[in-house]
C-alpha cells in the first residue's frame, strides 16, 4: 500500500511519474494483485484518473477493467469502480464546454474506445448480465455505460443486444426499478436502444412498454410532470414513429384512450412552464404520429375514429378555442386537429359543429380563417390554419359544398361573417400571403368536385359602387393581369388551374373573356427574368388545361385554334419548355412530399401539395395534346369511341354476370330448401305406404274371413244364420266401411302430395335448365314419384 499512497499522494521526492507510467503501474496492480482490497484500490485510483488521463486509461486499462467485470463478480464495489472508469473513458457527455476542436477529439476518443470495447460482443452480453445485479453501485453505472456505448456506436451495439437472448427484455426491467435514478436513466438507455431500430422497438413494445410508460406519465402528473415525462414521451415517439406494427399494437391496446386526459388543460392557461410546453408538444406529436397522412389510409382511419369516439378530438378542439394557450402550442394543436380530421367524414362533421365561445358564438372554422388572413398573426399559425382548412375539406364533398354555399347569392347571410367572405377578402387583400392562402384554400373547396367548380362560377362580386358586378373568375384574372407580387399570382394561377381543370364549362367561362388568352400567350412567350419563370410555367399550364378540357363550344377558341395559336405565337417546343418550369422549380418536390404546408420562410410559400398532384397528372397529357396533329386527334377520338363501346359491352356483360350470380345464389338456396322438403315428403310417403299396406292386409284378412263365413253360411243354409252372426257381420261391415273411408282419405292426401311433388319436380326441372347440378336432385325424385303412383 505504500507504493499506492506514493502514487496517489505525490509525497515522494524525485521526479513525478508521468500519467502513463502511473496508470501502467495501477494496471499491473489490477492484473497481478491477489488481494481483492488491493485490486479495488487500484481500480478506484484508475477511476479518479480516468477523466484527466482519459486517453491513457482507455488505452492501457480497458482490458484489465473488463477482466475485473468478469472475475470479481462478487464484489459490487469493485464492479462499480470498474464500470465508472469505463464510463468515463467511453462517454462523451461529461465534458465541459469545449471549443469545437477539443470536442471533436473527445468524440473520436469515445468512438475509438467504444469500438475497442465491443470488438468482442461478449462484453456487451457481460454488461447485460451485470445489469441484472440489483446493487445500486453496479446497476447505475452499468446503465450509464451501456447508454454511452449506444450513443457512440448505436447500430453495432443494438445488433449485439438484439441477438443476445432476453437482452432487450432485461433492459425493460429497468423501468420497474423503484430507484428513480435508475428508472430515469433506464429511460435514456431505452431511448438510445430504440433509435431507428424497428425490431428492437417491437420487442420493447411487446414487453409492455406502452403500459409502463403511460403509467409513469400519469404518476408524474402528465403534462405538469418534469423531465421524466418528457423522456417517457420521447421514448414513446421512438417506438411509434414509422413503425406501423407498433402503431397497430398501440391502437389495439386501447392506449389512444389514455392520451385523452393529457389534453385536459383547464381554463387558466397563463404561466405555463417551459417543461409543460415541451411535454405538450411531444404529446401532440404522438397523436400526429398515429394519424399521419403517410400512414396507411386504413390505419389512420381507424385511429381517427377512435380519437373521436374516446373524446380526444373534442379535447383538442377545446384547447383550440381556449384562451391563454401559448402560440406555439396552439399552432401545433391546430396541426394535430388537422390530421385527426383529415379525410374522416365523422370527424370533419364534428369539426364543423365546433363553435368558438364568442358572443355570438362563431364556428371554429370562421375564427380560424380570420387568423389565416390576418397579417399580424404568426406565419406558422397561418400555415397551420390553412392546413386545418385543407384537411377539413379533404375528401369532404359536403364540407366543400358548405363553404362554397356561403359565397352563393341565394345563401349569403349578410349578418355574420362567413368562411366565403373571409376567403374572398383574403384573395383580394393587399397582403400577398393572405392572397396565396385564400387562393389555395378556395382551390381546396373545388378539389375533385365538379359541382362546386360549376357553382363557384355563379359567384359575383360587387367591385365599387355604381359599377356592374364582376364574376369571381374574372376578378381573379383581372388581378393576375395587374402584375401583383409573384406569390399572389402563383396562388391565383393555382386556383384557376384547379378550378377549370376537368370542368369544360369553367374553361368556356374563362375563354369567354377576350383578354385572357392574349394575356396568357404574352406571358408565356415573353423572355422574362428568373423570378417570372414559375408564373410563366403556370400560365402555360392554364392554357394547356384550356386545350385539354375544351369542349369546342367557343368558335374562336376551339382546341384546334388554340393549338395553332401556340404554334404561331409561342412555338410548341417553347411552350413545353415553359410548362416544364413548374416541376423543375426547386420548391416543387418539397411540396410534393407531404400535404402539410410548411415553409422555412414566407417567401418560399409557393406550392401547394394537392396542386403538385394536379401538375403531375396534367403535364404529360398537355404535352401530348399540344404535340398532336388534328388528324391524330380525330383518330384518337375514334379509338376512344370504340374503346368506350368496348367498355360498354364489357360493363354490360359484367352486369349480366352479376345478375346471373345473384340468380344462381337464389337457385342454390331454393334447391337446398327443396331437397329438405323432398326428404320430408319422402318420409311421409313411405310412412303412409306402410299404413296403407297395413290397412290392405287388414282388409284382405277381413275379406278372407268374410268369404269363409259366407261359404260356411251358404253351406249351412240361410236359415242357419243366427242373430249373433248377423251382428258380427254388421260390425265387420262397419269396420270395412271405416277402413275404406280411411283409405280414401289417405288416397286424397296422397294425391295432394303427388300434386305437390309434381309441382316441385317441374320447378326443379326448370331450375335444372340453368343449373346442371339440379339434375342430381331431380333424378331420385322422379323414381320416387312413379313408385308412389304405381303402388297406390
Amino acid at each position: 500500500m505504500n507504493f499506492f499512497r506514493g502514487v496517489m499522494g505525490g509525497q515522494t521526492a524525485g521526479p513525478q511519474p508521468s500519467g502513463a507510467e502511473t496508470i501502467q503501474k495501477l494496471c499491473d496492480r489490477v492484473a497481478s494483485s491477489t488481494l481483492l482490497e488491493d485490486r479495488r484500490d487500484a481500480v478506484r485510483a484508475l477511476k479518479s484518473l480516468s477523466k484527466k488521463y482519459r486517453m491513457e486509461v482507455g488505452t492501457q486499462a480497458m482490458d484489465h477493467l473488463i477482466n475485473i467485470l468478469q472475475t470479481d463478480r462478487s464484489d459490487s464495489e469493485i464492479l462499480g469502480y470498474a464500470l465508472d472508469t469505463l464510463y468515463n473513458v467511453i462517454s462523451n457527455d461529461e465534458e465541459e464546454e469545449q471549443d469545437e476542436n477539443a470536442q471533436k477529439q473527445a468524440d473520436d476518443l469515445g468512438t475509438q474506445f467504444t469500438e475497442k470495447f465491443i470488438q468482442d460482443p461478449e462484453h456487451i452480453t457481460l454488461l447485460l448480465t451485470l445489469l441484472e445485479e440489483f446493487d445500486f453501485h453496479v446497476r447505475w453505472p452499468g446503465v450509464k455505460l451501456l447508454t454511452a456505448l449506444l450513443k457512440n456506436q448505436g447500430v453495432q451495439v443494438q445488433g449485439i443486444i438484439l441477438v443476445s437472448p432476453m437482452g432487450v427484455s432485461r433492459l425493460m426491467d429497468l423501468l420497474a426499478d423503484s430507484r428513480e435514478v435508475i428508472r430515469n436513466d433506464g429511460l435514456l438507455l431505452l431511448q438510445q436502444l430504440t433509435k431507428g431500430n424497428a425490431a428492437i422497438q417491437k420487442i420493447v413494445a411487446f414487453e409492455n412498454a406502452f403500459e409502463r410508460l403511460l403509467d409513469i406519465i400519469t404518476e408524474e402528473g402528465s403534462s405538469d410532470g418534469g423531465i421524466v415525462v418528457e423522456d417517457c414521451l420521447l421514448l414513446l415517439l421512438n417506438l411509434l414513429k414509422n413503425n406501423s406494427s407498433n402503431q397497430n399494437f398501440f391502437k389495439e391496446g386501447s392506449y389512444i384512450q389514455r392520451m385523452k386526459p393529457w389534453f385536459e388543460v383547464g381554463d387558466d392557461n397563463s404561466g405555463w412552464s417551459a417543461q409543460k410546453v415541451t411535454n405538450l408538444h411531444l404529446m401532440l406529436q404522438l397523436v400526429r404520429v398515429m394519424v399521419s397522412p403517410v400512414n396507411s389510409p386504413g390505419a389512420t382511419a381507424s385511429c381517427q375514429k377512435c380519437m373521436y369516439q374516446c373524446g380526444l378530438l373534442q379535447q383538442l378542439c377545446t384547447i383550440l378555442m381556449a384562451t391563454g394557450v401559448p402560440a406555439d402550442i396552439l399552432t401545433e394543436t391546430i396541426n394535430t386537429v388537422s390530421e385527426v380530421i383529415r379525410g374522416s367524414q365523422v370527424n370533419q362533421d364534428y369539426f364543423t359543429s365546433v363553435n368558438a365561445p364568442s358572443n355570438p358564438p362563431r364556428p371554429a372554422i370562421v375564427v380560424l380563417l380570420m387568423s389565416m388572413v390576418n397579417e399580424r398573426q404568426p406565419f406558422v399559425l397561418r400555415c397551420a390554419v390553412l392546413y386545418c382548412f385543407q384537411c377539413f375539406l379533404y375528401k369532404n364533398q359536403k364540407g366543400q359544398g358548405e363553404i362554397v354555399a356561403t359565397l352563393l347569392p341565394s345563401t349569403i347571410d349578410a349578418n355574420s361573417i362567413s368562411a366565403g367572405q373571409l376567403l374572398c377578402g383574403g384573395l383580394f387583400s393587399a397582403d400577398s400571403l393572405s392572397n396565396w392562402c385564400a387562393a389555395v384554400a378556395l382551390a381546396h373547396t373545388l378539389q375533385d368536385n365538379l359541382t362546386q367548380k360549376e357553382q363557384l362560377l355563379r359567384v359575383q362580386l360587387a367591385t365599387s359602387l355604381g359599377k356592374p358586378p364582376v364574376s369571381l373568375l374574372q376578378q381573379c384574372t383581372n388581378i393576375l393581369s395587374q402584375g401583383s407580387k409573384v406569390q399572389t399570382r402563383v396562388g391565383l394561377l393555382m386556383l384557376l388551374c384547379t378550378w377549370i381543370s376537368n370542368c369544360p364549362i369553367a374553361v368556356t367561362h374563362f375563354l369567354h373573356n377576350q383578354d385572357n388568352v392574349p394575356f396568357l400567350t404574352a406571358q408565356i412567350s415573353e423572355n422574362l427574368g428568373e423570378d417570372e419563370r414559375l408564373v410563366q410555367g403556370l400560365c402555360a399550364l392554364l392554357l394547356g388545361i384550356c386545350i385539354y378540357y375544351n369542349d369546342n363550344s367557343l368558335e374562336n377558341y376551339t382546341k384546334e385554334k388554340l393549338k395553332q395559336l401556340i404554334e404561331k405565337r409561342i412555338g410548341k417546343e417553347n411552350f413545353v419548355e415553359k410548362l416544364g418550369f413548374i416541376t423543375k422549380h426547386e420548391l416543387y418536390s418539397r411540396a410534393a412530399l407531404k400535404p402539410q404546408p410548411i415553409f422555412p420562410s414566407p417567401e418560399q410559400m409557393l406550392f401547394d401539395h394537392e396542386f403538385t398532384r394536379l401538375v403531375k397528372e396534367l403535364e404529360g397529357l398537355i404535352t401530348k395534346a399540344v404535340h398532336k396533329s388534328s388528324e391524330e386527334e380525330k383518330k384518337e377520338e375514334e379509338v376512344k369511341k370504340t374503346l368506350e363501346q368496348h367498355d360498354n359491352i364489357v360493363t354490360q356483360y359484367k352486369e349480366l354476370i352479376r345478375e346471373q350470380d345473384v340468380q344462381i345464389q337464389e337457385l342454390k338456396e331454393k334447391v337446398s330448401s327443396m331437397t329438405t322438403q323432398t326428404e320430408q315428403l319422402q318420409a311421409t310417403v313411405s310412412q303412409q305406404q306402410s299404413q296403407i299396406q297395413q290397412h290392405k292386409d287388414q282388409y284382405n284378412i277381413l275379406k278372407l274371413k268374410l268369404g269363409k263365413e259366407n261359404q260356411s253360411q251358404s253351406s249351412q243354409g240361410d236359415t242357419q244364420v243366427n242373430g249373433l252372426q248377423t251382428e258380427e257381420l254388421a260390425q265387420l261391415r262397419e269396420e270395412l266401411e271405416e277402413l275404406r273411408r280411411q283409405q280414401k282419405l289417405l288416397q286424397t292426401q296422397l294425391s295432394e302430395k303427388d300434386v305437390q311433388i309434381d309441382s316441385l319436380v317441374s320447378s326443379m326441372a326448370m331450375l335444372s335448365c340453368s343449373n346442371d347440378f339440379n339434375f342430381y336432385f331431380l333424378h331420385p325424385l322422379f323414381v320416387l314419384f312413379h313408385y308412389t303412383i304405381s303402388s297406390s
Binding site: L162, V163, S164, P165, M166, G167, V168, S169, A198, A199, K202, I203, F206, E207, N208, E211, S245, N246, N248, F249, K251, E252, G253, S254, I256, Q257, S302, K305, C306, Q309, C310
Partner: protein
C-alpha cells in the same frame, strides 16, 4: 372495446408454412396468395368470445427464416399461447417441429399453451404428412392439434379459439398467475365473474374497426 382478458399469442414455424396467412385470415378474413416474407415480427389483434366473455387476442406473427430466429426468440417469454405451424405438403417443415418445440420450451414460460397446426389442408393432393402423424406428434408432446387451411379458412377460427379456451381453462384452474403480465395474460378493465361452466360461442367478432 372492454375485454375480460387479454391473451398474447405468438405464431412460430418454418418460413412459408402460412403463419402470416393464418393471422390475416383470422383478423381480416382474407387470403394472401403471394408469399410476403415476414421481416422480424408483425402484430395483429382480434376480439373473441369465450364463455360469454370478451377476450382480446394480441398476436405476434414471427418470421420463420433462420436469420430472424434470435429476434423472434425475444417474444417467447411474454406469450400465453403459441401456434406452432407446419405445412402438410412439406415434410421438412414437419421434421423441424422438434427443434421449434425445444426452442419454445426453453425460452417460454412453462404454462404456455402450444397448439400444433398442420396448415394447407386444402392441398390434399400434395399432402406429404398424414394427419395421423400430426396427431401422434401432438399426443407425444402434449400439444393440441388441428389441421387448417388459411386459404379456405377451414379450422382457422377454431385454432385460435381453442387455444384461447385452453388458456382460459388454465386460468380457471389457477395455473396461470394472471397478475404477472409477463405471462402474456392481462385482466381487462371490467372484471370477469369467475367459475361459470365453460361454454364457448364460436365465431368471435371482429375487433378490426373500432377500438373504443
Amino acid at each position: 372495446m372492454a375485454y375480460a382478458y387479454l391473451f398474447k399469442y405468438i405464431i412460430i414455424g418454418d418460413t412459408g408454412v402460412g403463419k402470416s396467412c393464418l393471422l390475416l385470415q383470422f383478423t381480416d378474413k382474407r387470403f394472401q396468395p403471394v408469399h410476403d416474407l415476414t421481416i422480424g415480427v408483425e402484430f395483429g389483434a382480434r376480439m373473441i368470445t369465450i364463455d360469454g366473455k370478451q377476450i382480446k387476442l394480441q398476436i405476434w406473427d414471427t418470421a420463420g427464416q433462420e436469420s430472424f430466429r434470435s429476434i423472434t426468440r425475444s417474444y417467447y417469454r411474454g406469450a400465453a399461447g403459441a401456434l406452432l405451424v407446419y405445412d402438410i405438403t412439406r415434410r421438412d417443415t414437419f421434421n423441424h417441429l422438434t427443434t421449434w418445440l425445444e426452442d419454445a420450451r426453453q425460452h417460454s414460460n412453462s404454462n404456455m399453451v402450444i397448439m400444433l397446426i398442420g396448415n394447407k389442408s386444402d392441398l390434399e393432393s400434395r399432402r406429404e404428412v398424414k394427419k395421423e402423424e400430426g396427431e401422434a406428434f401432438a399426443r407425444e408432446h402434449g400439444l393440441i392439434f388441428m389441421e387448417t387451411s388459411a386459404k379456405t379458412a377451414s379450422n382457422v377460427e377454431e385454432a385460435f379459439i381453442n387455444t384461447a379456451k385452453e388458456i382460459y381453462e388454465k386460468i380457471q384452474e389457477g395455473v396461470f398467475d394472471i397478475n404477472n403480465e409477463a405471462n402474456g395474460i392481462k385482466i381487462g378493465p371490467q372484471h370477469p365473474t369467475t367459475n361459470s361452466p365453460l361454454s364457448t360461442s364460436q365465431g368471435g367478432q371482429h375487433a378490426g374497426g373500432g377500438c373504443c
